[in-house]
């Protein structure tokens, strides 16, 4: 991040209902404040709504997503979920176990486990054995790869791995799905299919969906798009 940051731009929050996730004047830096990634960013997203965030590489998109998931804590400002500030890491862990799903850019699957076992991982300690397996199989069927259940990641194509990652994120029926570059490293047909899948799932499940991406095809499908640049957030298409 450079130090010549553009003036902060604040996205207008949705009017109603109360936001599911809200960032209030959030700043984030690394290396003891030497590297400023986000500067007083505010953002709110209502339940069931979609949001696409674009921006150049290194602009802090993934950091922003991580803050929305509670994977990292802001150095300033606060993050609220369902209109309440999330107090600590344990509370964030509970949210990620029940209400927030994450799709990772590079799949982040456990190589020694099969597709269905990878999905099961998200439900350990919450859903008992056989019910867990059945629910994991249902999630795989929902993303269209029921026949891949017994295969390990190395035996799956990129698109199939992505779908396993989405199935895992959906395992506990989240109300917020965060997807980090969900179409990266996929050919155009597979990327388009993944885009359709995400939008279909968002519609069917009425869950809020946030994607960060460079993919014009994916970004173009969102009514609400924001651009992250120089530590600030503003409407897409505005430099």
């Amino acid at each position: 991040m450079n130090s010549n940051l553009a003036p902060r731009r604040t996205d207008e929050p949705d009017q109603a209902p109360p936001p599911l996730i809200a960032l209030e004047r959030v700043s984030h830096s690394y290396d003891g404040g030497r590297i400023q990634v986000l500067r007083e960013v505010s953002l709110a997203l209502a339940p069931g709504k979609g949001l696409a965030i674009e921006g150049p590489s290194g602009s802090g998109k993934t950091t922003l997503l991580g803050l929305m998931a509670g994977l990292d804590r802001p150095t300033q400002g606060r993050v609220c979920f369902a209109d309440r500030e999330v107090p600590d890491a344990a509370a964030w862990t509970c949210l990620r176990a029940a209400r927030i799903g994450i799709v990772f850019q590079d799949y982040a699957l456990v190589p020694t486990l099969t597709a269905v076992e990878n999905v099961e991982l998200a439900m350990f300690g919450q859903v008992p054995g056989e019910a867990r397996r059945q629910r994991a199989l249902a999630r795989l069927a929902e993303v269209g790869i029921a026949d891949c259940a017994a295969r390990r990641p190395a035996e799956l194509s990129g698109g199939e791995r992505r779908r396993v990652g989405i199935a895992r994120a959906l395992a506990h029926a989240p109300s917020l799905l965060l997807a980090d570059e969900p179409t990266a490293n996929l050919d155009s047909a597979t990327a388009a299919a993944t885009t359709e899948l995400l939008l279909r799932l968002q519609g069917e499940r009425a869950m809020a969906l946030v994607v960060v991406s460079h993919d014009r095809g994916l970004l173009g499908r969102f009514g609400r798009r924001l651009r992250l640049a120089d530590g600030g957030l503003g409407p897409a298409g505005v430099a």
Partner: protein
């Protein structure tokens, strides 16, 4: 997929490393079983040896550094016999002596009228007549030396006719040679001296009665100790040293096993930093991540413990067959194996503690970093 299945999958990622660690734990626990079994066996053998010969109490020299070097005057026996409650007293002079060409055996000298002779179950031959030059052998010793009644046996470089072969239940007794006391005293140059006195009392097992006898004997001389068969090895410093050495070696083996598990799991956690971050990112609590790594350590140790129990039992059998030759019996059994498994799992958990703690410190933000 069960929790156990997940632990197994994680360990099986590096099968070679896990198997070598498991083997290390197994060898450590096998050593523990063998050493503990040997130590227990020694105690049990001594106890069984005395009980079988109808000995209720022993009078020994207090604080003797080494069992066989203890010296008591033979004449003390008459004063002990006069104490109320004492039915019979018989002295014994014993030592480990060279037998045959290159062996060693426990050799005991008993007086001609000692009650120990009366309790002997002769398989072949006869007992020595008063003043007769000859030896009676325990059956295991006779078998090991290929000795038979009518033959001769070299004891401490002196030839003795083999007069009889005696059968015993206790392993220690089966490997023993018995002589008339005067011959034993002459053989090792300790005329008028004995190692200890064997006592039979009127009310064996009655603590109050035994205590009265004990008090009366201790009043005779201040340097005596009166012990039961259970207590006989407790005050002996050689045995205490052997037990301490066994315990120290067993402990060292367990500590090494713990470090082996620590090393393996620390490497595994290091390799799986991103993956553990992903688990945290999908909602795994620190407690569950801690249990995952501890579980891997405990599983590794438990499997190592099971293999170690098998190896340990094998080691005990080998010790009994090849080294101890029936003189004593290393004892394993469910108690020792359960202890080994218990220690094994404990060692696994302790070894896994630091890697597990490290795993809980991995930030879920690590999940967002590209693999």
């Amino acid at each position: 997929m069960s929790w156990l299945g997940l632990l197994v999958r994680n360990l099986w990622r590096r099968p070679g490393r896990s198997l070598f660690t498991l083997l290390g734990v197994a060898i450590a626990l096998a050593s523990f079983i063998a050493l503990t079994g040997l130590s227990h066996g020694l105690g049990q053998a001594a106890r069984a040896s005395l009980d079988e010969r109808g000995i209720h109490l022993l009078v020994i020299r207090r604080g003797s550094v080494e069992f066989f070097s203890a010296i008591l005057p033979q004449s003390l026996g008459e004063r002990i016999a006069a104490i109320p409650g004492v039915v019979a007293v018989s002295s014994e002079l014993s030592n480990l002596l060279p037998v045959g060409e290159d062996g060693h055996a426990l050799v005991a000298g008993w007086p001609a009228d000692g009650f120990q002779w009366r309790g002997l179950r002769l398989l072949r031959g006869r007992l020595p007549e008063p003043g007769e030059h000859g030896v009676v052998l325990g059956e295991a010793l006779a078998e090991a030396l290929n000795a038979e009644v009518g033959g001769t046996l070299e004891l401490n470089l002196e030839s003795f006719p083999v007069l009889g072969i005696a059968g015993f239940g206790a392993a220690l007794n089966r490997g023993m040679a018995m002589l008339p006391l005067p011959q034993m005293q002459r053989l090792i140059g300790r005329d008028g001296q004995v190692t200890l006195f064997h006592l039979q009392v009127e009310q064996p097992g009655d603590r109050a009665a035994e205590e009265a006898v004990r008090t009366a004997i201790l009043a005779l001389r201040r340097d005596l100790a009166v012990v039961t068969s259970d207590e006989v090895l407790k005050g002996n410093r050689s045995i205490a040293m052997l037990n301490s050495l066994s315990s120290a070696l067993a402990l060292a083996a367990l500590v090494l096993a713990g470090f082996s598990i620590l090393n393996t799991l620390a490497m595994a956690v290091e390799e799986r930093t991103r993956e553990i971050g992903v688990l945290a990112a999908i909602g795994w609590s620190r407690g569950r991540i801690l249990r995952l790594v501890l579980g891997e350590g405990a599983l590794l140790a438990a499997l190592g413990g099971l293999l170690g129990a098998l190896l340990g039992e094998g080691a005990l059998a080998a010790l009994n067959a090849m080294v101890l030759q029936g003189g004593t019996q290393a004892v394993g059994g469910p108690g020792v194996i359960a202890a080994a498994l218990g220690y094994g799992v404990l060692v696994g958990l302790l070894g896994a503690l630091w890697p597990a703690w490290r795993a809980t410190r991995i930030s879920p933000a690590a999940a967002m970093r590209r693999g």
